[in-house]
């Protein structure tokens, strides 16, 4: 019954230093729900950008309904019948639902007519939404509905959904699935990007799996086990690292029932997070971005203060203490965003050292800055971490992503922290730099530090962490020794199952 809607043939896209997609070929039929599966960095978003006209492929072509399809910009894709619901919504908070939708449509009818249309669609597809509400006041699930309705108003033939359930409650997920099934029954095709294996098996007809830019396979997910799917995603070269059971020291950092409301209205609040890291140990926390990682890091770094007893360092409660105090005590953090958060883009690398180096490196006695010492430290970081730049006087923005990341991590590592927490250590970093960073983290732990890594990169976490848990919607699953971890367990943890044993 399904005719071919869209065929992708040999799509390739290369960026300087990284091959985003290589020779990807598959097709999507009319009325088919097709999953696009893969870990972060697998090439899913680049592929989808090509379909939506945000990016032009270097090689290969696309055919839609027997006609050559090569959109130059999103508008052309929309006209051809492609709609996209982004993972990070591009909505205007101060405007209401009708206004937001009107802005995203080519020639909108007047607001009253549009409001009626919105109500009609919301009823038809089970997406309850009040057109007059201000978007800023909507929950994440409701905001997603605005995006979906905006797409549906254009009557798309293909609806692309990027990690749609990462911000939804289980109840909302059910609602979304009903909507998608209805669309499918009307002949709309859906390209469903996700890494949540159980959802894909429940919803999708077929799945294409990408890994490191290449297509691994196209299969029928309901015919495969979670394990088989995870294996294809992560690669059979994955072996549980042969780690000897190390002997760890005392618990250096302990987090007890950390509950925190996110400052960001669209952030994720933390729900009773508990963990303990011992010296010499590397703890890994996995999970797709937007599940509370930033909030966790803010609480640990001291940017956001919590109840004193929620965070304990070497036995001392520090939840209320400022960042400077924590650093002086040997507790360092590295946030996800390099430019603007971990480093000031327009200031020199020497200046940037001062951001976290003041206390422990004694760079400012009685407030007087010791520039010589600061410069020496900056130069040392550049030398030890192979940061490619000709001078520490260069501005942080002049460094490539990988080099800046090496610098930022090196800045903390060289201060010999007792505890080091890092959020997305190798995100957007080229392979060589990523390897160097991972090695430095391993070395840090071997030297006795307690290390906590928060990352979306499963490979990385499984490779270097001793214990692993998943952060999902602000709640942390139980920690399991990585050595013993099976792919089924990983898949389930990432998908939100709190108590893995109970499910298995």
């Amino acid at each position: 019954m399904s005719n071919l809607l869209l065929r992708l043939d040999g799509l390739t896209k290369v960026y300087p230093g990284v091959v985003a997609n290589k020779d990807v070929t598959f097709d999507i039929g009319t009325g088919e729900v097709h999953a696009l599966l893969g870990e972060n960095g697998a090439g899913k978003s680049t592929l989808v950008k090509m379909i939506y006209g945000l990016v032009k492929p270097d090689h290969g072509h696309m055919v839609m309904n027997d006609m050559r399809f090569a959109p130059n910009e999103p508008r052309e894709a929309r006209v051809a019948g492609v709609g996209m619901v982004f993972q990070h919504f591009s909505l205007f908070d101060a405007l209401n639902v009708v206004e937001n939708i009107a802005l995203g449509i080519e020639l909108p009818p007047n607001q009253r007519v549009l409001a009626d249309q919105i109500i009609q669609i919301s009823k038809e597809y089970g997406l309850p939404l009040d057109p007059s509400k201000t978007v800023g006041n909507l929950s994440a699930g409701e905001r997603q509905r605005v995006e979906i309705i905006r797409c549906l108003l254009q009557k798309p033939k293909l609806l692309i959904m990027d990690e749609p359930t990462s911000v939804l409650t289980p109840h909302e997920v059910d609602g979304l699935f009903q909507t998608l099934r209805k669309l499918k029954s009307q002949g709309t095709s859906i390209l469903y990007i996700s890494h949540k294996l159980d959802e894909i098996r429940a919803l999708c007809d077929r799945a294409t799996i990408l890994r490191r830019g290449k297509k691994i396979a196209t299969c029928v997910p309901s015919e495969k086990s979670t394990r088989e799917l995870a294996e294809m995603m992560v690669g059979t070269s994955f072996e549980a690292p042969k780690k000897k059971k190390k002997v760890f020291g005392d618990v250096t950092l302990e987090v007890s029932n950390l509950s925190l409301r996110s400052e960001n209205p669209f952030g994720t609040s933390l729900k009773s997070v508990s963990l303990a890291v011992r010296s010499g140990e590397i703890l890994g926390i996995g999970g797709v971005a937007g599940n509370g990682q930033d909030e966790l890091l803010s609480a640990l770094s001291g940017e956001v203060r919590v109840v004193n007893s929620m965070i304990t360092l070497k036995g001392q409660p520090i939840g209320q203490k400022p960042s400077g105090f924590r650093r002086a005590e040997g507790f360092f953090c590295a946030p996800e965003e390099r430019l603007g958060h971990a480093a000031a883009p327009n200031m020199s690398l020497i200046d940037n050292v001062l951001i976290t180096g003041c206390e422990k490196q004694a760079l400012a006695k009685y407030g007087l800055l010791d520039w010589q010492r600061t410069r020496r430290f900056a130069d040392q970081i550049i030398a030890d971490f192979d940061v490619r730049t000709d001078s520490s006087t260069n501005a942080a923005r002049s460094l490539s992503g990988g080099n800046l990341q090496k610098f930022v991590i090196g800045r903390e590592v060289l201060q010999k922290p007792d505890v080091f927490v890092v959020n997305q250590p190798t995100w957007g970093v080229d392979a060589a730099a990523a390897a160097a960073i991972r090695q430095s983290l391993i070395d840090l732990a071997s030297a006795g530090s307690a290390v906590l890594i928060i990352s979306q990169d499963l490979d990385e976490l499984l490779e270097i962490s001793d214990r692993f848990a998943a952060l999902n919607a602000g709640a942390l699953s139980d920690f399991k020794d990585t050595v013993d971890l099976s792919l089924d367990e990983i898949g389930l943890m990432m998908g939100g199952a709190q108590n893995v044993e109970a499910v298995l």
């Binding site: 508008r75 101060a94 206004e99 802005l103 909108p108």
Partner: protein, 307 residues
């Protein structure tokens, strides 16, 4: 002290006249700020409008034409601000202040030959029936055309922002210029248009002072009313109808305290003349306490398209 010497009818009438330049300037600046641009040069644009309007009215004996030229002149001046901030990405605060300086200097130069002259001014409109109502007739319905125009402009602007497509896009640009750009809207073009509209309105407001309220030309005659207009924009939470209310309130307090001074009230003159400003500060604080999230999110930030 003779409070009975204060006539409520005249009070309200003069309040309206006093508030009209503020309404015009603040309305223009509201549109500008709604689009995400902070233009502190309102004072400079107003005084430019005042001098140009006056000069043209004297030379052509046509005050309405004077108003038109005032709007055009101030709009051109605002264009310089627009080019500097939108294309050359200059700091908006500094550029706005520079605009004020240039406006003040330019207007003094242009106005030199016209000091002390009297211009033809606008007549009071005689609206059939309404103007003849006792008390209210004098108070509300015997004003010049610009007063009514300002109120109509408030209504049009409110409608434009809320209901029109361009108004919606303008608001979107002011909230998130990156998202608007991603949707394909021309951020810089829209902001430039808003800036020029703001300039035109400020020019009209300034011309009103030199052609109707005083009416004469003196150097520096706007005396800080441009800054008041800026405060009124915040006071009004960037909503056109509230600008009207705010301007009338401020005008009311100003005129009232002047009348009280004249009536010989025992409160020292200086405290009275401080009162409008202190009240404005108090209201600004109140607004921020209640949650001043109504400012357009991109206000004051330069837009540089990353592509």
């Amino acid at each position: 002290m003779d409070l009975s010497s204060i006539s409520p009818v005249l009070l309200i009438a003069s309040l309206i006249v006093s508030a009209t330049p503020i309404i015009l300037a603040a309305l223009g600046e509201t549109v500008v700020e709604k689009a995400g641009v902070l233009n502190l040069g309102v004072e400079g644009m107003m005084i430019t409008g005042a001098v140009v309007g006056f000069a043209v009215a004297i030379n052509t004996e046509n005050p309405l034409f004077g108003f038109l030229c005032a709007a055009i002149a101030a709009s051109l001046l605002s264009l310089i601000f627009g080019i500097l901030t939108q294309y050359l990405l200059s700091n908006q605060v500094a550029t706005g202040l520079g605009l004020t300086m240039v406006g003040l200097g330019l207007s003094s130069l242009i106005g030199k030959p016209y000091e002390g002259m009297k211009s033809v001014t606008l007549g009071r409109l005689e609206i059939p029936f309404l103007s003849d109502i006792p008390i209210f007739g004098t108070m509300l319905f015997s004003h010049d055309i610009v007063v009514y125009f300002s109120i109509i402009l408030v209504a049009l602007t409110a409608g434009f922002l809320k209901y029109s497509r361009l108004g919606l896009v303008l608001r979107a640009v002011g909230e998130s210029h990156d998202a608007a750009h991603a949707l394909g809207y021309k951020v810089i073009r829209i902001r430039l248009l808003a800036i020029m509209f703001g300039g035109a309105c400020s020019g009209l407001g300034g011309a009103y002072i030199s052609l109707v309220r005083v009416p004469q030309w003196t150097e520096g005659m706007t005396a800080g009313v441009g800054w008041i207009a800026l405060a009124i924009v915040v006071f009004a939470s960037w909503k056109p109808w509230r600008v009207l209310i705010g301007a009338y309130l401020f005008g009311g307090v100003t005129v009232l305290q002047l009348n009280l001074q004249a009536a010989g009230i025992s409160i020292p003159v200086e405290y009275l003349s401080m009162s409008p400003y202190l009240i404005t500060i108090a209201v600004l604080v109140l607004i921020s306490v209640r949650g001043g999230q109504s400012a357009p999110a991109s206000l004051g930030r330069s837009f540089h398209a990353l592509s």
